[in-house]
């Protein structure tokens, strides 16, 4: 497997949706190609850091305010019947 072929399979490999034969070829490539090993490892870390980052968490007070407004408008709409927003 060449480096460009490895790159094409990287997303399937990280997502665990790859057939056994391709996976074996890819892991063989990773065993001797240091650059691709680093790309694979740090791409995985990139995903994990974003997943665990708690970026843009909704603060509790804002959450309550938004939900209260949504529910009030739902009740208002229920009374006036269905309509497009």
């Amino acid at each position: 497997m060449k480096c460009s072929e490895f790159l094409q399979e990287l997303t399937n490999y990280l997502d665990g949706v790859i057939d056994d034969r391709t996976k074996a070829e890819l892991e063989d490539h990773l065993s001797w190609c240091h650059n691709c090993f680093v790309v694979c490892d740090t791409t995985k870390k990139t995903i994990e850091i974003y997943r665990d980052s708690q970026l843009y968490e909704l603060p509790d007070d804002l959450r309550t305010r938004l939900r209260t407004a949504i529910v009030a408008k739902c009740h208002a709409r229920k009374k006036s019947g269905p309509q497009e927003v």
Partner: protein, 218 residues
């Protein structure tokens, strides 16, 4: 190296019960759906719009649009996927209003050297995120993802942050599965390369120490 583990979903049958109750006029059932998904809709909206006020508006508008159009939800997809589709469209409309000079589309083809290997292949420190405070890390992650085109960061957020499957992401964004996979690969590689500037291993001490010792002689 093991694959990334997907997030665990809420039971779909329970969700359908809530949707049916909401359809028949039970606002408290809809409120439960809001509780379940408001955080996620807010994150998606803020990732797309990059603006806190716009994200708040998107949360309200998306849930109200979903409520008003519940009769249109046939249950072929998960309620959450249907809701995300509405929220993404609302967020993109906000973004277009803020940036009328630029066409904002999920279909835009951004010229990248997708077939070339990444340029920056320096390895990272063992626990790179621990080099920074929580606030610094959030700033780095926020600034880095903002640099991606909207179509790329939306796919990345749905797949890798919110844990939608490739099929659900394709459905929510009205893209083909190959298009989702292609954008996801490019988004992941671009983010990885940009984060390398902050996280790469610095053998022989950090930059500040090197600068100090290098410039120390006068």
């Amino acid at each position: 190296m093991s694959a990334i583990q997907p997030k665990v979903d809420e039971p779909v049958s329970d969700e359908l019960t809530l949707v049916q109750a909401a359809k028949s006029g039970d606002v408290s059932a809809f409120e439960e759906l809001v509780r379940r998904y408001d955080r996620s809709v807010f994150r998606i909206a803020q990732h797309i719009t990059q603006n806190r006020e716009d994200a708040e508006d998107v949360v309200q508008d998306a849930f109200l649009k979903a409520y008003s159009n519940l009769a249109q939800f046939q249950g072929q997809s998960k309620f959450y996927t249907w809701l995300v589709r509405i929220a993404v469209n609302e967020a993109l409309m906000k973004l277009r209003r803020r940036r009328p000079e630029r066409t904002v589309s999920l279909d835009e083809e951004v010229k990248t050297e997708e077939d070339s290997l990444p340029r920056e292949v320096a390895d990272w420190s063992p626990n790179p995120e621990q080099q920074y405070s929580q606030a610094e890390l959030r700033e780095i992650l926020s600034r880095t993802i903002q640099g991606l085109p909207p179509g790329f960061r939306t796919v990345f957020v749905l797949r890798d942050v919110e844990g939608l499957s490739t099929e659900e992401t394709a459905e929510a964004l009205d893209l083909s599965i190959p298009a989702v996979k292609s954008r996801l690969l490019r988004a992941r590689l671009q983010l990885r390369e940009r984060l390398s500037r902050y996280f790469q291993r610095r053998d022989g001490g950090d930059v500040a120490q090197r600068r100090e010792s290098g410039d120390g002689t006068q």
